[in-house]
Each structure stands twice: as structure tokens, then as C-alpha cells.
Amino acid sequence: MNSNGMSLIVKTVTRLTVGFIFVYGIYIVLHGHISPGGGFAGGVIIALSFVNLMLAYGKQELYHRIPKLFLALFETIGAIMFLGIAILGFMSGYFFYDWFVSKGKPFTIFSAGTIPLSNIAIALKVSSGLFAIFLVLVLIRVTGGTQE
């Protein structure tokens, strides 16, 4: 058994539940225009699932497995996607006007025009950004602990 991280009980419970937390975050994001929730809350839940893994298994275990490049990539993709949805409205003379997606029937997932797309973009941005901040703060504690 690895020495760093929390005890075996915490590790097992985390391994069983972290997938559910992740899927719940995706559910909150995708149903943001139907039920309470939305891109920001769902993104923070997705980030919390990764934080949960990191707290249970320790920093050294996860440090080599997390692709740091993907975090910046997802963050940038989210930002560009949201900005692109905003600017594409210019094609019909508006800002954020949903002309390229049909509005559909209410109470279904594929409805409400650009709102689900914006939710997904915000969730990508928020989850990767918050997890990147957490990662950086944790790593500073690891390497810079002896100073001061």
C-alpha cells in the first residue's frame, strides 16, 4: 500500500464514488436549461471530483498522471467556444442570437438554442480553471514548504 494519501477506507470510498460525482456534474451541466444548475455549478462539481481524487490519493500519485497541458487546453477551448457563440450572432446582426441552432421543444435536452452550448463552454472553462488553481496551490506547498 502506498504511504502517501489517506487511509485505505478513504481510498476505496473515493474510488467508488468519484465517478458518480463526475457524472452528476455532467448531468447538472447538460440539464442547465431545464432544471436548476448550470454551467458554473456543474463545472465546480466536476473540478471537485478531481480534487476529491487528489485529496484521497495524495499529491505525488496524481502529479504524474494528470496531463497539465489538457487543463490549459480545455480552459482555452471553453473560452474560445463561448466567445465564438457570442460572435456568431453577428451573422444575423445580434449578439448571442441563436440563429444557427433550432430552438426545439421546451422540456427536452436538445432545445433552447445556444444556451446548452454556452453551458458546456462555461463548464469546460470553470472546471479546468478551478482545478488548475487548486493544483498550483497544492504544488507550491509541496516544493516551497521549507522556505520562510
Binding site: I28, G32, H33, I34, S35, P36, G37, G38, G39, F40, A41, V44, I45, A47, L48, V51, L55, E75, A79, F82, L83, A86, F95, F96, D98, K103, G104, K105, P106, F107, S111, A112, G113, T114, I115, S118, N119, I122, K125, V126, G129, L130, A132, I133, F134, V136, L137, V138, L139, I140, R141, T143, G144, Q147
Partner: protein
Amino acid sequence: MLELNFIMLFVIIAAFIAVEMKDLLSAVVSVAAAGLGLCIMFLILKAPDIAITQLVVEIFLLIILIRATIRKDLPFSTSGRWFFNTLMTLIFLMVFLTAAYTCLKQIPQFGYPLMRVSKYYLTEGLPKTHATNLVTSILLGFRAYDTLGEATVLFTAVISVLAVMRKKGRKKIGEAEDKYEL
């Protein structure tokens, strides 16, 4: 609305305890209690969107705060200049209370009139955007420009945190190399 007043009192007491506590970990736990009370208040006021966001952000903040305070117990000096501190606190409290009294007298009764703008959102939100969650339809439909600004703020915050906390600074040509490596 009686339970709302009780929870508000609980939140205020928890906030006072969080400020006055000497032990930092206990203060963080009190902050968590205040946030949970605020979340329940949002639920009673029928705002589940904000309640979810409040709860989730509170958890995230709590983890970061606990990680920051679990090792280092910063000394908190209260000695000296107590007269000046108390005087300034009283003056600021009086200014705040008078300003709040004159301002809060002007606002209408709690939830009583629906303004013209919010009435428009309530009636036209579903037919115009086809989103059944009205909060999302305002946030990403009518007021999406604001949300774009908030997303930009978050983007800037992440970039600045990563820039401040990065491992090695970029040096100019000819500048000496740093001895410490953070």
C-alpha cells in the same frame, strides 16, 4: 418568514465567531457553517440555482482554506492600539448604519412589486428562448453579455494565478539566474 430570521441570526452569529476565533481552523469551520446557513436561506427563498452554486463553491473554498491553514497557524496580534481600533470600528459602524438606514428605507417591500424588466423576463422568457429554467434563460439569453464578462474575469484570474505561482520566472538577457528555485 420566521425560519428565515432564525437562519439569518445563525449566519450572523457564525460570522462573528469566525472573525473572533483565535484558532484558524475553528474560524474556517465557522465560515463553513455560515455558508451552509446561507445555502438553506437561498433554498427557502426558492432560488435553487444560487443554492447549488453557493454550496458547491463553499465546499471548494473550504478545501482550499483548510489546506492553507492546516499547517500554519498564523499569530494574530490584538494587543496595542486598542483604543484607536475600537474608535474607528464604532465610527465606521455608525456611518454604515446611518447610510444603510437611509438607503433601506427607500427600497420597496420584500418581493412585493414586480418591476417592468423582470415582468418582461417572466412572461417572455419561455417563448423567446425555450429554456424552462428562467435563471439560465436570463443568464445566457437576455444577459449573456454580462456572463461573457464574468467568464473573462475568471479566465484572467486563472491566468494571473498561474503566472504568479509558476515555477521559474523568465529572465531578461544578462540578468543573473536566481539561486532559489520555488
